[in-house]
Each structure stands twice: as C-alpha cells, then as structure tokens.
C-alpha cells in the first residue's frame, strides 16, 4: 500500500480541496453568506422560521458542491434544473428525469417548482387570518390596492436596468411584501432568480418596523397621525363563512391565474370560519404550515448557488426590492391621505401603510406609530383590513403578471 498516494487521494477527495478548484472560492463565499443569514435569523430574529431554513439550505447546497464537486452525490443540481427548463432538451419538464437523478434538495425543490408549497402556505395563512376587519369595512380594500404601487414601480425600474419582462415581473412582486406570492411567481417566470428574490422579500418583511416609520412620518402630518378612528361594526358568523366562498369565486373568475393562491387562501379561511372543520383548520395553521415551511425554506436556500447568486443582478434585486417595499408603503399612505380627505378626516392615513401585506407586522407598525402620536388610539384592527386586503391585492398583481408573462 502506497501511504503517500492514499493520503493524497484522501486530501484530493475532501471537501476542503474543493476550495482550490475552479470556482471553489465562489462557493466559499456562498457558505459565508449562509453563516451571515443564519446569524440574522437566529440572533437578530429576522423572519427566523424561514431565514434559518433558507440559510441552511444554502449551506448544504454549497457544501455538497465541495464534497461532490457538483457531481451526482450533490444535494442540489442546478444543471439538471437547467435541462428541465430548456425546451430543446429531451428532459424538458420531465419530473421523471429529475427524480431519477436528484439529490435530497432537488426532491424538496419539486414542490417549489410545481407551485405546491406557496399554495399550501397560503392555505395556512388563510386558516390563521381573520377577515372580519376587512368585511366590516370593505373600503379598506382600496388601501390594499393602493399599496401595490411598488410592485409596478419596481417592475418598471427593473426593465430600465436591463432585466427581461419575466425577471422584472418577479422582482416587482417583492413590493407585494408577500413571500409565498413572490416565490410562486418567480418559480413560474424567472426560476434562476429565486434565491435572491426570496432573500430580498423575507429580509425586507423582517425590516418593516425600520423601513416604514420614517416614510409614515414623511407622508402624513401630525394632525393626520392623531386621528382616532371609530369602532367597527360586529361581523356575523354567516358573513365570515360566505366571504371566502365569494372571494374565491369572484377573484378566480376575474383572474384565473390566481387560482392556486387565492383558492388555497380562501379554502384555509373557510376551514377556520365554517365551524365544522376545526381539525382541518388546526392542521393547516400548525402541522401542515410548519412542514411546508421546512421544505420551502431549505429548497429555496438550495437554489442559492454561486453561479446564479454572485453577480450584479443580485445587487440590483436587493436594491429594487427595497425600492419596491418603500414605494408600496408610500402608495398605501397616499391612498390613506385620499381617504382622509374624502371622509372629512375620519380615516387615519397611517393604516394605509399596512396595505403592503406582511400580515400582521405591517398592521402592528401602524398601531405603534399611531399610539406614539395619540396614546388613546388603537389602530390595529383598522389596519388589519388593508393588511389582509394587501394579501388579496398582491395575489391579483401576481396573477396579472403571470397572465402577461407566463
């Protein structure tokens, strides 16, 4: 036995040797990015349920590159997915090919690619959401619509920066402040951008308490911020039961491409409200939501491979995402100002910023800022109306973009 040759072989086959292979340094950077994301999720508590999974998926995917050097033992194979998306390939849209050649994270990713996880997450969101504030004050839907301004502004900005229509649409939807919707649309239109878009969407959602208050101060007067809103009417149980059925029927007929998201959102809500499916509601809110979150986060993280993540496009996406969030907030606030004027000062414009979705964090920010200027002000339930309208609004925006570019 040649001891030296054996040792040399062991060294060459180790993952550490991969640092010195062509492009290995890029994967090393991705591993460091995964560590930073883990820090943000665990220590800074930035959307930890998702960011921890995304970061660890990124870590595993890039570690497996070193171990397998991108070979058949890798956990995630970007090259197989490129084949899957190439119309000239014999394996175009062949899940059979994927499943016979895939690693663990490829297998998880099938659920993202088929649009299953975002839809199931929406079912859980629906089961957790009380649409009562929206039903009691349907006018708040206008604020949910106004706060989608950032989606289309960022879309336009992305086109100016040279992105294709499909890529621009996926980047714009970050402004909807709705992670599952962003993942759903990006998977359909620009899957190669999934990693940076998911990271941008979830990071900015976690940063809402920092991004929104300065804009709220800038776009409203102190007098407006002090407005105390009247208590809302009580919503009957029957109204709450009929609401998801009406919304699903109406929105899906209007924009059929929203069917997976709106359908699951409203099914989850029906489980919650109908009173005879408590077990299903509980499963959708807890067990199912948690299981899907694990698969979604790790598989989205796995797509963060060096070749598609470490480029100028990622930096543009991060910047455009911030712009999209900010403009959506401004759109909601301006909508709130219009309603303040129209109602003769009965609407506090601060609830407009909650129209950016991000349930319930954006509504909590409206509550906190409102109380800062008027201690007796309780805006939370008033802000929940635009907040949940924003979820429907961002799904409609995604459905529109999917119809145009899909």
């Amino acid at each position: 036995m040649d001891v030296l040759a054996t040792l040399q072989k062991l060294v060459m086959e180790s993952g550490f040797a991969g640092f010195f292979m062509a492009g290995g340094w890029k994967n090393l950077i991705m591993i460091l990015i995964a560590f930073v994301l883990l820090y943000l999720g665990i220590v800074r508590k930035f959307e930890p349920l998702l960011l921890c999974g995304i970061a660890f998926g990124c870590l595993l995917s890039n570690l497996s590159y070193f171990v397998a050097l991108g070979g058949e033992n890798a956990l995630y194979h970007p090259e197989i997915w490129s084949t899957f998306l190439d119309p000239s390939s014999p394996y175009y849209h062949s899940y059979g090919y994927i499943m016979s050649n895939c690693g663990l994270l490829d297998f998880f990713y099938i659920g993202v690619k088929a649009g299953i996880y975002p839809s199931l997450i929406f079912m859980g969101v629906g089961a957790m959401t009380d649409f009562g504030p929206l039903i009691s004050d349907p006018k708040s839907m206008l604020l949910g619509a106004a706060a989608q301004l950032g989606v289309f502004a960022a879309f336009f900005g992305a086109i100016l920066l040279g992105f294709t229509g499909n890529e621009a649409a996926s980047i714009g939807i970050i402004g909807g402040a709705d992670g599952p919707t962003a993942i759903f649309l990006t998977t359909k239109l620009a899957p190669h951008l999934l990693g940076p878009i998911a990271i941008a969407a979830y990071s900015y959602m976690a940063l809402i308490p920092m991004i929104q208050p300065p804009l709220m101060k800038l776009f409203t007067t102190e007098e407006m911020r002090k407005v105390k809103m009247e208590q809302k009417r009580q919503v009957s149980r029957n109204e709450k039961i009929i609401f998801p059925i009406v919304v699903a029927t109406f929105v899906i007929l209007l924009l059929p491409s929203t069917a997976p998201l709106i359908g699951c959102l409203m099914l989850g809500n029906l489980f919650r409200e109908c009173g005879v499916t408590d077990r299903l509601s509980d499963t959708a809110q807890n067990a199912l939501m948690n299981i899907v979150t694990i698969f979604l986060a790790t598989s989205v993280g796995a797509t963060m491979v060096a070749d598609t993540f470490l480029n100028i496009q990622t930096i543009f996406i991060i910047i455009l995402g911030l712009i999209a969030f900010s403009i959506s907030t401004i759109g909601g606030l301006l909508g709130g100002r219009v309603m303040y004027q129209v109602t003769g000062g009965k609407i506090n414009p601060l609830i407009g910023s909650a129209g950016v979705s991000a349930v319930p964090m954006a509504a909590r920010v409206s509550q906190d800022v409102g109380r800062k200027y008027n201690k007796s002000n309780f805006l939370l339930m008033h802000a929940m109306g635009p907040n949940v309208a924003g979820v429907i609004g961002s799904a409609i925006a995604a459905g529109f973009l999917l119809s145009v570019f899909g």
């Binding site: 839907m141 206008l142 294709t164 229509g165 621009a168 929105v251 529109f400 570019f405």
Partner: protein, 106 residues
C-alpha cells in the same frame, strides 16, 4: 424570456395597477352588497323578536325575575342559571334582578 421596450413596460405597469384596483373595487362592492343583504334580515328578525317580547317585558308577572334578555341561551338553561345564582346567594329569586344572560363562546 420577454424583452420589453420602455413604452410597453410603462403600459404594463399602469395596466397592472389598474387591474389590481379594478379587482379590489369590484370585490369591495360585492362585500358591501353581501354585508347589507346579510345584516338586513338579521335586524328585521331582531325587530320581530323584540316586538314579540315587548308585551311580556312591559308587564312582568308578580314574583318573576323581571325583564331579562337571553343571547344564545335556552330558556331552560337560563332558568337553571338563575336558580343556581339565587341558591348560591341565599336570596329569593324574585328579589334578584337579572338583566341578560349570554353564552360565552370562547
């Protein structure tokens, strides 16, 4: 992939924003109509119920517990609750005044 001119991008953005508004405004109208339709019969039913109860409440029987409003509570349960309260307090039921009994759902 779809390459877009700036003009087409502006048009798409404006149209997309308009579609979101259009969809949510229509939904708002539907929800408003639904709310009115569903609350109208409820208020009418309440009015009829109040009218039926009115003669009884105006002239309570001697020795009764007086006027009481029941919300989601069966009269038999209400009678039992009043009897238990009277027994616990050690007072005759006709010396107590019950205003309303409501079933707490959660």
């Amino acid at each position: 992939m779809t390459e877009m001119s700036i003009g087409s991008a502006v048009l798409t953005a404006v149209m997309g924003y308009a579609v979101v508004f259009f969809g949510l405004i229509l939904l708002m109208i539907v929800v408003m109509i639904l709310g009115k339709a569903m609350n109208k019969p409820a208020s009418e039913t309440a009015a009829v119920r109040d009218a039926e109860q009115a003669p009884v409440t105006r002239t309570p029987a001697p020795g009764s517990a007086g006027e009481i409003k029941l919300y989601d509570t069966d009269p038999k349960d209400a009678a039992m609750i009043m009897a238990i309260v009277a027994d616990t307090l050690g007072k005759p039921i006709n010396e107590l005044r019950f205003i309303s009994i409501r079933e707490v759902k959660e």
